[in-house]
């Protein structure tokens, strides 16, 4: 019974990876990485039971916490980059911003 869930989660990870590769904006890629992270947590939990080792659940718990921190760090990076662009534009009006 765990095999069906594992296959579903693996297929979803492949789909999320595709979105990370082709996403036109950076936010698509961040979304894909976030989704990949939560699917990894699920996969850790299910495979830990599948292989009969419930003490491997610590990994799922650790990664559930770290995934959140990674996404917040990415968004903080965007903020500081936008601030820098705003500063540069105020100092040099001929500068254009770049997307992606």
């Amino acid at each position: 019974m765990y095999y069906a869930v594992t296959i579903a989660v693996l297929v979803t990870m492949a789909l999320a990876l595709t979105r990370a590769l082709i996403g036109p904006t950076v936010y698509d890629r961040v979304l894909a990485v976030n989704m990949f992270g939560t699917k990894t947590v699920l996969l850790f939990s299910v495979i830990a039971f599948l292989s009969g080792r419930p003490d491997f659940l610590d990994l799922a718990l650790a990664y559930a916490l770290i995934n959140f921190i990674g996404i917040l760090a990415v968004l903080e990076f965007f903020r500081s980059r936008a601030n820098k662009r705003a500063e540069e534009q105020r100092g040099n009006p001929a500068d254009g911003g770049e997307t992606d």
């Binding site: 693996l10 950076v26 961040v30 491997f56 990994l59 916490l65 903080e76 980059r81 705003a86």
Partner: protein
């Protein structure tokens, strides 16, 4: 079935690796490197190597992404095209790949009980751990006691990396261009929900980090993973509350003390072995009962590893973040 999952994940890994090398936008490369680390951690997990999977997930997918983004904030986002020596490197890489592929034909099959790796050292460790050290997690026994020298080297490598980064990044232009970060509205500090959730989670992550530190004897865990988790907790606090308040909570002097005392603790335990009459890093003499001595030694050195890793990761993060503000 495990083999099929492994092959699927490895295929995704190859696709990700090709995409990382192809892209010229370094931010995309950093995001894909996070996915790469997760795929590798899953591969380790499927092969039942839980300690390595935990370290890879915590350090590779979590902390490394944050540090890469910190570095990207200081440089540009587009990769510059390299030099023109493409044909020579292509020939070298292709010939090396062909040689390695040819060498893999001689490898024993996956899981073959007659393979050399299962004949000499591994059964000895598995047999002797209950006799000499008596802890359930053989990985920690090997890492902490049987191969203690290697782990000592690792701790000092981490320490050297920390010192190196601090030398490079602390030599910035003083406080000359220190400007106040204006609230642009995108920031996490201005939004209530991430702040509340972040502040709620920090004590739990710290508690879990301590759990992982001391649980290394019984399950996946140990110093490296715990150091990464505790550093992640402080990084979360810095992301939602700001650099200054984090440095007020855990000043740079404490981080320096953590780095140094972790490495010193490890070396000190080793020297204590000599002082008490045996050889370097022999924990059996630390207590009256040799097995209790081994337990004590492993707890102390894991604490040393955890302290150094926490101090180094947080110092590197603060070095990047402070450079970004100035």
């Amino acid at each position: 079935m495990t083999v099929l999952f492994g092959i699927f994940l490895l295929t995704l890994l190859v696709i990700t690796a090709v995409a990382i090398v192809q892209t010229r936008n370094l931010f995309v490369a950093v995001m894909l490197l996070g996915i790469f680390s997760l795929l590798i951690a899953l591969n380790f997990f499927i092969l039942d190597a839980a300690d390595v999977a935990l370290t890879e997930a915590a350090v590779g997918a979590g902390i490394s992404t944050v540090l890469f983004l910190g570095a990207l904030a200081l440089t540009s986002e587009r990769e510059r095209l390299g030099t023109q020596h493409r044909w020579l490197s292509l020939v070298v890489v292709t010939s090396a790949t062909l040689v390695v592929l040819y060498a893999t034909f001689d490898k024993p099959l996956f899981g073959d009980p007659g393979a050399p790796v299962h004949q000499h050292v591994a059964p000895w460790y598995l047999e002797k751990t209950p006799e000499y050290i008596d802890i359930p997690n053989v990985v920690t026994a090997v890492l902490g006691s049987f191969r203690g020298y290697d782990t000592l080297g690792e701790v000092f490598v981490v320490f050297t990396a920390g010192i190196g980064v601090m030398f490079l990044l602390s030599a910035h232009s003083g406080g000359a261009n220190r400007r106040k970060q204006e609230a642009s509205g995108i920031g996490l500090r201005e939004h209530l929900i991430p702040r509340v959730v972040g502040r709620l989670l920090v004590p739990f992550i710290l508690l879990f980090g301590l759990y992982v530190q001391f649980h290394g004897d019984y399950g996946p865990g140990g110093g490296f993973q715990a150091g990464a988790l505790i550093a992640a907790a402080f990084i979360l606090y810095a992301l939602v509350e700001g650099e200054e308040r984090t440095l007020a909570a855990l000043p740079q002097s404490w981080l320096n003390a953590l780095m140094v005392s972790g490495a010193l603790l490890y070396g000190g335990v080793g020297l204590a072995g000599i002082v008490l009459g045996s050889s370097f890093l022999d924990y059996s003499v630390l207590s009256a009962d040799p097995i209790a001595g081994q337990h004590l030694g492993i707890i102390l050195i894991e604490a040393g590893v955890g302290m150094t890793v926490t101090g180094v990761l947080l110092s590197i993060f603060h070095a990047f973040a402070a450079r970004d503000q100035a």
